[in-house]
Symmetry: C2
Subunit: 463 residues, 2 copies
C-alpha cells in the first residue's frame, strides 16, 4: 500500500474516533438538558430562555472566530443542539401543543363538508369577498386562450405585468416577481432567506403562514405578542429584546389579519430602524393595504433595502381563486425568490397573469367602500354583545375577545358550526389567543346578521 494511502487510512481512523467522541459529548449535553428541563418544570418556568440562548450563541461565535472555524457552520450546529435540547426538555411537559391547531382554513374545510351533506352554513370564517372579480379579468382570461397565450413565461412573470406593477409601485421591473398568490411570495421570501435554525420574528396575532413557512424550512419562529389592551400595538423595545445573532427576518402584516390594526408612523419607523440596525429582512405583507380606513404607508416608502413587500390580487379585486400575487423587493432578493419559484412552480399560469394585468385597470374603490360599510355593520352589532374588541382600521375582519367563563374559542366555534355559522378560532392566529375569534365581513349584511344572531345567542347561553 502506498504511503499516502496508509496516511489516509490513519486519518480515517482518527476521524471515526473523533466522530464517536462528538456523539458522546452531545449525548452528555442532552442528559444535562433533560435535567434542566425537569428543574424548569418544577419551577414552572418556560423551556425557552432567550437570554441564556443568546449568551451561548455569543460564546460559540467567539470560539469559532478564535479557532478559525466557519461562524455560519458553528451556529448551524448550535441551532441543532438547541432545538434538540428543547425537544428533550419539552418531552415531559403536558402535550398541549400536540392537539392539532384549528385554523380558519380547517373550519372552512369542515364547513364545506357539512354543506356537501346538505347543511346551510353562513360563512364568516374565511377572508374571501363575495363580490365579483373585475369583468376585464374574465375577458382577459378568455382572450388569452383564443390568442394561444398559455405557455411558460419568465419565472418572475410576464414582462408587461411586471412593468405595470413596477409602474404602480414606482420601482424597477427587476424588483418585481409575480407569484401564485401572496402566499407563495411569503413562502419564497422566507425559504430563500431564512436558513434552518435561524430565526424569524412574527408579531402575533398573525396570519399563520409566516410561522408555517418558518416551520417548513426548520427555522425558528419567535413571537412578539400584542394585546387588545394595548390596541394591538407592538412594543419596539420588546421587539428589540427578541433579536439575537440568529435572527434573520421580521414579518409584518398591516393592515393586520386578524385585528385590522394599522401601525402609526412612529412605531413603523422604529421597527424599520431596528431592522436596519440589525441588518434584518423586513417582510411586509400588505395584501390588505387597499382596505385601509385610516392613512396607511407601505414599508416600501421607508427606503429600506432589505424590505420585501407582499401584495395580491385576491382581496382588492376579489380574485382569491385566481391565485396570483407578487412581491416588491430589491433585485437580489427577487433573484433569490425566483430560484424558489423556478424549483417549485416554474411560473404562474399565463392566462392567470393576463387576467391579473387586466385587473390592474379596474377600480377597486367600490369594493373598498363596501368592505368599510360591512365592517361598520359588523362592529356595530358586535358592540352590542358581551365581546370586547378594537374597531378595525383596515382589512376585512373583527377580532373580538370572548367573555370569561364561556370556554375557549375551539369549543365555541364548533358549537357554532353545528348551529350553522362558521367563524375562525382566535388561536389559529397565535396559540395564546384562545379567548378570541375572528369574524369576516366578506358576506352580505343579511348573512352577517343571521350568523351574528346565532353567535350572540350561543355566547349568552354560555355565560
Amino acid at each position: 500500500m502506498a504511503s499516502r494511502e496508509k496516511e489516509l487510512d490513519a486519518l480515517r481512523i482518527q476521524i471515526r474516533a473523533l466522530t464517536s467522541d462528538i456523539l458522546e459529548k452531545v449525548h452528555e449535553r442532552m442528559a444535562l438538558a433533560e435535567q434542566i428541563g425537569e428543574i424548569k418544570n418544577k419551577l414552572g418556568i418556560d423551556v425557552k430562555d432567550e437570554k441564556v440562548e443568546h449568551e451561548i450563541r455569543l460564546m460559540v461565535i467567539k470560539q469559532a472566530e478564535r479557532v478559525g472555524m466557519s461562524k455560519e457552520f458553528a451556529l448551524r450546529l448550535l441551532n441543532i443542539l438547541l432545538s434538540e435540547s428543547e425537544a428533550v426538555q419539552e418531552k415531559n411537559r403536558l402535550q398541549k401543543d400536540k392537539v392539532t391547531r384549528q385554523t380558519h382554513l380547517g373550519i372552512f374545510q369542515k364547513a364545506k363538508q357539512l354543506e356537501a351533506l346538505g347543511k346551510h352554513i353562513v360563512h364568516l370564517e374565511v377572508g374571501e369577498p363575495d363580490y365579483d372579480a373585475p369583468e376585464q379579468a374574465g375577458i382577459a382570461l378568455a382572450e388569452s386562450f383564443k390568442q394561444k397565450k398559455y405557455h411558460y413565461t419568465d419565472t418572475r412573470g410576464l414582462p408587461p405585468l411586471r412593468a405595470a406593477i413596477a409602474k404602480k409601485w414606482k420601482v424597477h421591473e427587476d424588483e418585481v416577481i409575480v407569484t401564485p398568490g401572496g402566499r407563495f411570495a411569503v413562502f419564497a421570501a422566507i425559504t430563500s432567506i431564512v436558513r434552518p435554525g435561524e430565526e424569524l420574528i412574527s408579531i402575533e396575532p398573525a396570519w399563520p403562514a409566516y410561522r408555517e413557512c418558518a416551520d417548513f424550512v426548520g427555522a425558528r419562529c419567535k413571537v412578539l405578542r400584542t394585546t387588545l389592551d394595548r390596541d394591538w400595538t407592538p412594543d419596539p423595545k420588546e421587539l428589540e429584546s427578541l433579536i439575537t445573532t440568529g435572527t434573520k427576518m421580521i414579518a409584518l402584516n398591516y393592515p393586520n389579519n386578524p385585528t385590522g390594526k394599522i401601525l402609526d408612523k412612529k412605531t413603523m419607523e422604529r421597527i424599520v430602524g431596528l431592522a436596519r440596525d440589525h441588518g434584518l429582512y423586513l417582510l411586509s405583507d400588505e395584501v390588505y393595504s387597499d382596505y385601509s380606513f385610516k392613512p396607511f404607508e407601505s414599508v416600501n416608502l421607508y427606503g429600506y433595502d432589505r424590505s420585501i413587500i407582499v401584495s395580491s390580487f385576491s382581496k382588492t379585486y376579489a380574485m382569491t381563486g385566481f391565485r396570483v400575487g407578487y412581491a416588491i423587493a430589491n433585485s437580489e432578493s427577487v433573484k433569490k425568490m425566483a430560484k424558489v419559484q423556478a424549483v417549485g412552480v416554474t411560473s404562474v399560469a399565463e392566462p392567470i397573469q393576463h387576467a391579473a394585468l387586466a385587473a390592474l385597470d379596474a377600480d377597486p374603490s367600490e369594493n373598498v367602500a363596501l368592505m368599510k360599510k360591512r365592517l361598520h355593520f359588523l362592529s356595530d352589532r358586535i358592540r352590542k354583545m358581551p365581546l370586547r374588541f378594537v374597531e378595525p382600521e383596515g382589512a376585512m375582519y373583527v377580532y373580538p375577545q370572548l367573555p370569561d367563563g364561556i370556554g375557549d374559542d375551539i369549543h365555541l366555534v364548533e358549537s357554532l358550526l353545528d348551529r350553522g355559522v362558521a367563524i375562525a378560532p382566535g388561536s389559529g392566529f397565535g396559540e395564546s389567543y384562545n379567548q378570541f375569534v375572528r369574524i369576516s365581513a366578506c358576506r352580505t349584511e343579511e348573512e352577517m346578521a343571521e350568523g351574528l344572531a346565532i353567535l350572540e345567542s350561543e355566547v349568552r347561553k354560555r355565560q
Copy 2:
C-alpha cells in the same frame, strides 16, 4: 437564591462547557477532513466515498442505540458533519462547479432575450409543444369566470377533478392531489418526505428538478449514472449499492427526459423490489407516459404502497402554461403533500382546474401521433450527422452524443444560439453529460430542419 435555581445555574455552566468541547472536537474533525482532502487531491480520487460514509453511518447508529440517543437526531448531526467535511475538502479543488450550470431553461430565457432584440430563433430547447391546447379547456376557462368559479378550493383540488383523475387511474379520490404543474407535485413529494441530510437517488441523465428539490431541502442527491453504451438502462445492482441507511427515495422518470428511454418490465420490477426491500419511496415522474412508442406500464400498476406517480396536463394536452398537474399516491402521502401545498400555494387556481377537468375529455391521440412522426423525422436527420444516439422510445426529445474533439456542450450551444437555433446542453441533465445535447421535437418539421441544418454545419465546422 433557592437551591433549585442554584442547581439550574450549575447545570447551565456545565452545558456551556460541553458545548465548547463539542465545538472544539468538531473543529479538530474539520482539520482532519482537510488533511484527507489534500491527500485525496494528490491521489486524484473523489472527495465523496460512499463506502466510508456508509461505515461511519452504521457506527453512529450503533452508538446512538447503545447510549439511548435518538437515532434520527444522531444521523442528522452526522449528516451536517459530513457535508461540512465535504465542503472543506472541496475547497482546494478546482472550482469547476462554481460555473453556473446552464440548463434548458437558462437557454430558453437567453433565447427569449435575443428574440426581444429582434433576432430570429428556432426553439429546439424547451419541452413545450407548439400545437394547441384542447378547445374544451378554453371553453371551461371562460365559463368558470362567467359562473364566478374563481374561489379557494380544497387544497388537494376540486372534488370533480379529483374524481375524474381517480377514475382514470382506478384509485380512490383520497389518493389524488392536483398541483400547480407536475413540478409542484415533485416538489411537494420530495420536500414532504426527504428530510435535510437524508438521501434521494436520481437516475441520470434526468430532468434537473429532482436534484433541485433535494438541494432545496438540504437533502443529498446521489446519482446512478446510465450510459448511451448501455442503452440508458440503469443497473439495479449499482442502484442497490447506492442505498444506505440515509436513503429515503428513488426518483424515476420514464419515458425519460432527456433520453426517451422506457424501462423494460424486468428492470422496473427489480427497481420496485429494491424500493420495497429497503422501504424507500418511489417517485415516478410519468408526465411523458402518453408519448410512449413502445408498451409502458405505470409504476402505479406494481401495487407498491410507497410509490408516488406524477403526471401533468402540460405535455399530453399542450397545456404547459396552465401550470396544472397531479400526483397519485397513498392517502397518507397525499396528506403530507397537501400540507406542503397549503403552506406554499393554498390550492391551484380554480379556473385552471376547470380547464384541466375539461381537457380530460379531449383525445390526445393526434398529439401523440404527431410527436411520434416528428421524433422519427428528428432521428432520421440526426442519424445522418456525426452524432451517436439511441432512438427515443417515448417523450419528446433526442439526446445525442457529440463527436470527440469538438468541445463541450455549453460552447456548442452558445455558438448555435448566436446562429439562431436554441438547443439544450446535455450537462443540464447531469454534470457528466457535457458531451451531449438535447433536441426537442416540439416544433414543425420545417423549423426542425432549419435548426438541424445549422447544428450540422456547426458540428462539421468544429470537427
